[in-house]
């Protein structure tokens, strides 16, 4: 694999994992606009574990995930007291607080950033991505996944069906934090350097758009969204400025034509019927 291709595949893998981190919260009805904060926690957590404490690559990754998950778990409680746009603002504020702490911390390298001595190859990122994809598809096929989708659709009826909404929502935040943390750890290890400026508000917006434009109804949505927005600009050799323009046009087009995302349950059912009639069992 050429260096260029390896770079694209790695970024794709990191973005897909990151998108799934946001998807698991969105699938249970909560919008997380603090993705960059969770990814930064994973990236810096991994950098510190690997470079300062000398843990192995995989131990550092696991600890970074655990930190992301634990922080997701803890902040879920205050954030879940808010609703709708206030929840979006609360998660956004969380990411800003994380960036603020990092930039003011000498231990974390401040504005200068932190170098890493270890690294991961593209094959490790591919393996991690495949595992995460498989895990999320598995999760969504379980009764927990069913409960998450029920909470997304109608919290009060889900409650009357016996679903513990609060447990589902807190679990989603913790799991989302762990997956975003994993994507941050892989980012840090692949690029060998972390700087807080990368984990900015625009990154949080982009990853949320991967998920929303891809679609939150099925686990295919974030895979499609992250792949589309990673690969198409590369294929068309579009620079950052045009990327914003395309995002803007796509958001407007999506609001008009596909308000529930590109990959919806209906669209998948129709595709399935065309490809393998009579095999779909719900």
């Amino acid at each position: 694999m050429s260096g260029y291709l390896a770079g694209i595949v790695s970024i794709l893998g990191i973005n897909v994992i990151f998108a799934y981190g946001i998807y698991v919260t969105a699938a249970s009805g909560q919008l997380n606009l603090g993705g960059a904060g969770f990814q930064a926690i994973g990236a810096y957590g991994c950098a510190i574990m690997s470079s300062v404490y000398g843990f192995s690559v995989w131990t550092s990754i696991l600890i970074a995930m655990a930190i992301g998950g634990a922080i997701g778990f803890v902040i879920a409680f205050p954030i879940l007291r808010t609703r709708g746009v206030y929840m979006v603002l609360a998660t956004f504020a969380f990411a800003e607080v994380v960036a603020g702490i990092i930039i003011n911390s000498e231990f974390l390298g401040g504005a200068v950033g932190l170098p890493l001595s270890d690294y991961v190859e593209v094959n490790a990122i591919i393996a991690a991505t495949l595992l995460v994809i498989l895990f999320v598809f598995y999760l969504m096929s379980t009764r927990v996944g069913l409960a998450m989708r029920a909470v997304h659709d109608d919290e009060s009826v889900a409650d009357l069906m016996g679903v513990n909404n609060r447990a589902i929502q807190v679990m989603s935040f913790a799991l989302g934090g762990a997956l975003a943390g994993l994507s941050g750890a892989l980012y840090a290890l692949y690029f060998g350097f972390v700087e807080v400026q990368y984990f900015n508000a625009l990154l949080s917006i982009f990853v949320l758009l991967y998920v929303l434009i891809g679609g939150t109804q099925t686990a295919w949505g974030p895979l499609f969204g992250a792949s589309f927005f990673t690969l198409v600009p590369e294929a068309l050799r579009i620079g950052e400025d045009w990327r914003f323009f395309i995002f803007g046009v796509l958001i407007v087009a999506m609001m008009i034509f596909r308000p529930e995302g590109i990959v919806t349950r209906d669209a998948l059912d129709r595709l399935w019927l065309r490809l393998a009639p009579g095999t779909r069992h719900g």
């Binding site: 096929s141 009764r143 409960a147 989708r149 029920a150 069906m161 069992h281 719900g282």
Partner: protein, 259 residues
């Protein structure tokens, strides 16, 4: 009266300054087919919401099989043997029919079953049970379809199926026949009689009086949040207060005079 499964004693509920239910007391006998009727705004759905725990009661008590439900969270009530359907269909629009029905089984699922990939197992115990109940309602052909795309009458029936799969001992049905054509209504009545015969107690809110009269043996009537009749179904048709509530005083007098 047979042993009660549900006991309401002096139940009251206010929303702000509006008294929605005032001192409502009645029992639902175990194994009975019991109707709760009344004009629009009588407080029927509010009473269902109090029984299922959507809102707390302001005064009085509600007991299920002798257990006071005060302090029992709404999500735990289904586990006590009580399930309900809704006046306005409240299915999960992005789930398929069979997934909606399997959601109804959630309260019976043990901890170990939470991570079983039921979506990947076409012959899992949960799916087969859901399909069997769908089949009993003639709905199995819709199993894989997303409910948001289905006609009103079909969705209404799926709500009943979803409530049934939790194996309730008390089934609260809020206008189950609304939107169904006469053939579907008759089929629903026959099915509900079968369900009741299997030991499930029915408490049904319904405006379709022929349906109520052919299904239920006992009727409770509410008007403006107060209980005005509680007795055999046949008696309600001759009760002056009930006739007044539905027809107005003048027409009620004409009707009772004619009788």
């Amino acid at each position: 009266m047979a042993e009660p499964i549900l006991q309401l004693e002096a139940v009251s509920k206010n929303f702000g300054g509006v008294v929605v239910l005032e001192n409502v007391s009645f029992n639902v006998a175990k194994g009975s087919r019991h109707a709760l009727i009344g004009p629009n705004g009588a407080g029927k759905t509010t009473l269902f919401n109090l029984i299922s725990g959507v809102f707390p009661i302001d005064a009085g008590s509600i007991r299920l099989e002798g257990k006071n439900l005060e302090g029992t969270p709404s999500r735990r009530r289904i586990g006590l043997g009580m399930a309900r359907s809704f006046q306005n269909i409240r299915l999960m629009p992005h789930l398929s029919v069979v997934e909606n029905v399997m959601l109804g089984q959630h309260s019976n699922a043990g901890l170990s079953e939470l991570l079983k990939p039921i979506g990947w197992l076409p012959r899992s115990r949960e799916r087969l049970a859901a399909l069997a109940t769908l089949e009993a309602f003639g709905l199995d052909a819709h199993q894989g379809q997303v409910v948001g795309n289905l006609p009103y009458g079909v969705r209404k029936k799926i709500e009943v199926v979803r409530a049934l799969v939790s194996s309730p001992r008390l089934l609260l049905l809020d206008e189950p026949a609304a939107g169904l054509n006469p053939i579907e209504t008759a089929a629903l009545r026959d099915f509900l009689i079968e369900v009741a015969d299997s030991g499930v107690t029915l408490l049904v809110v319904e405006h379709d009086m022929p349906f109520v009269n052919s299904l239920c043996q006992h009727i409770t009537v509410l008007n403006f949040g107060r209980l005005i009749y509680d007795g055999p179904a046949a008696g309600a048709r001759r009760d002056k207060a009930v006739l007044e509530a539905y027809l107005g005083r003048r027409h009620a007098e004409d009707t009772t005079d004619a009788a």
